[in-house]
Amino acid sequence: VNDLLGQAIIQGLIFGSIYAIAAIGFGLVYHTTGVFHIAYGSILALATFVIVTLGAGLPPIATLGVGVVGVAVAVAASLAVYGGVYAVLERRGATAMVVFVASLGVSMAIEGAIVIVFGASVQNFNADALLQVHFVAGLGASYLGIMTVVAGAVSLAIVLWLMNQTRWGFQVQAVASNRLLAEGIGIRPWRVIVAVYALAATLSVVAGVLLGMTTSVTAGMGTNVSLLAAIAVLMGGSQSYFGAYAGGLIIGIVQAVAATVLPGEWGVTAVFGLFLVVILVRPSGLFGRGYA
């Protein structure tokens, strides 16, 4: 039983790292602009479909180029949604709720478009070699799994470094805490925000490809990921990227352990129950700075 539990935790860390990467990206947009960018997930799915379709049958080196195309698609789509929908609504003084509902609409439209363009069938990356499981001391992990966990930690490190050590990061924090004041001291908020959306989109592609390789590529994959990412960000706490990362890992582990320990499928229910408990006990989140 202990081995099973240990294996579940490893599995949870792998999936959790994917959610964590997505959550850091979701958090970038949410913490900086306050927009609940739920269409984030559908853009993730779109980019992953582009990559898996263009990359089919190409040698590994060429897939890197395909990855760049995927990132470009995701960035372009995100900026189009920001400029064409969110920014317009915000200029008219729409509430955050209205922007969220518009984002839901975008999400649904993109998902429909994905199925129309790429077909309804599930697609797969040819990642069998990476998925082969190696055992150490009775516990197994694949190279892909190890890469995923490393990618999660590296994503967090990069974003924390950007936020806390670079001029750009300070500008982002300034825009996040008071956009008008930031503008007053010579920061151009829209430049910062565009860069934030682009970075978030890039992270979403990393998460999408890793998830697609670990499981498979479906049009609906994004909705699930953006929901879990949003839960991770809210559980993690306001303005906390470490919180978003930790939230993602916790969600992954809770899901995997629930799947091992309980009969039937209870992963989502367990995660949601945990979310409700966290919100009741600590409304500001696990690692939040107390203000929201």
Binding site: G93, M97, L104, G105, M108, G119, L227, T269, F272, L280
Partner: protein, 311 residues
């Protein structure tokens, strides 16, 4: 009426009940909930459960179970999260949909798992059995009339004015000495109960209750329909139901292949949701009101729907 016309009318009336309920929450209360399809499903499985475990097809029994269950779920979500922030509420309303559907899915004695609960009997109300399509249409009609009447009553009551006032300026209402949270929870419970009532009728009409019919996509589509129909307009919700049922049928008539029709509906409803939010805050009811307002030298009809965005 032809069989198709009876079927389409029945569905429109059932969805009108759901959308009128959703409009109370989203339109009047400005609380964007994304789990209306779940509460609809709660009604459907209440009927499946009542016929299966209690051996009764009496609608009053199923309605009672459905209303209690939907109210409890709504209260859990709303009371836990509305006091934190709107964003928390949204995610909770998303999450509870997935979580409770998973419970239904796992509870295969009730739901039949992936296959669904089949062969549900025709419903009876106080001993009268609704055993033909036209009688079931009558049932849907009565339910819709009752729901619309109730909604209009609520909207025009002092309580309804409070709901609107909270949506427009929560702080002012608090300052006036009202406890805001119970009022918000109340409207959410009311809207959810209407969806559950509709769910009972829906399952008894179809004879089937399947988990996949109450997915998150359905919730978002319902949201799109209520927004497109017109927020804060009860007739708008009926227009929304027309759209919700009409679009798939129209695509069907145009011989759009099934593999395209599903995603195309998603695309259309998604685009509709965005464009209406951006350019037509009053929805279809807003257009009707505008047209009427122009003809009658703008008597007071257009004002209500047009304010939607500025709140």
């Amino acid at each position: 009426m032809t069989a198709v016309a009876v079927e389409v009318s029945t569905l429109i009336l059932i969805y009108a009940v759901i959308l009128v309920g959703l409009n109370l929450v989203v339109g009047y209360g400005r609380i964007f909930s994304v789990n209306q399809a779940l509460l609809f499903g709660v009604g459907a499985f209440a009927y499946a459960g009542a016929t299966h475990f209690l051996g009764t097809n009496e609608l009053l029994v199923s309605w009672a179970i459905a209303i209690v269950a939907a109210s409890l779920l709504s209260m859990i979500v709303a009371m836990a999260t509305l006091r934190v922030s709107g964003d928390h509420f949204i995610i909770a309303s998303f999450g509870i949909q997935l979580a409770v559907l998973q419970v239904f899915y796992n509870w295969s004695d009730l739901s039949g798992g992936a296959a669904g609960a089949f062969g549900l009997p025709n419903p009876t109300l106080l001993g009268v059995e609704f055993n033909s399509p036209s009688l079931l249409l009558g049932l849907a009609f009565l339910t819709a009339v009752a729901a619309i009447f109730l909604a209009l009553l609520v909207v025009r009551s002092p309580y309804g004015r409070l709901i609107k006032a909270i949506a427009d300026d929560e702080i002012a209402v608090t300052a006036a000495g009202f406890e805001v949270l119970p009022i918000k929870v109340g409207v959410f419970v009311l809207g959810g109960s209407l969806a559950a009532i509709a769910g009972v009728v829906y399952a008894s009409y179809l004879g089937v209750a399947q988990v996949s019919d109450y997915s998150i996509t359905v919730s978002i589509t319902l949201l799109a329909a209520v927004v497109a129909g017109g927020l804060r307009s009860v007739p708008g919700s009926i227009l929304g139901a027309l759209l919700f049922v009409g679009l798939p049928n129209a695509l069907n008539l145009l011989h759009v292949p099934v593999s395209i029709s599903g995603p195309l509906q998603q695309l259309v409803f998604g685009v509709l949701l965005v464009t209406v939010m951006m350019f037509l805050p009053g929805g279809m009811a807003g257009i009707v009101a505008l047209a009427r307002g122009a003809r009658l030298f703008r008597r007071r009809s257009s004002a209500d729907g047009q304010k939607s965005l500025s709140a």
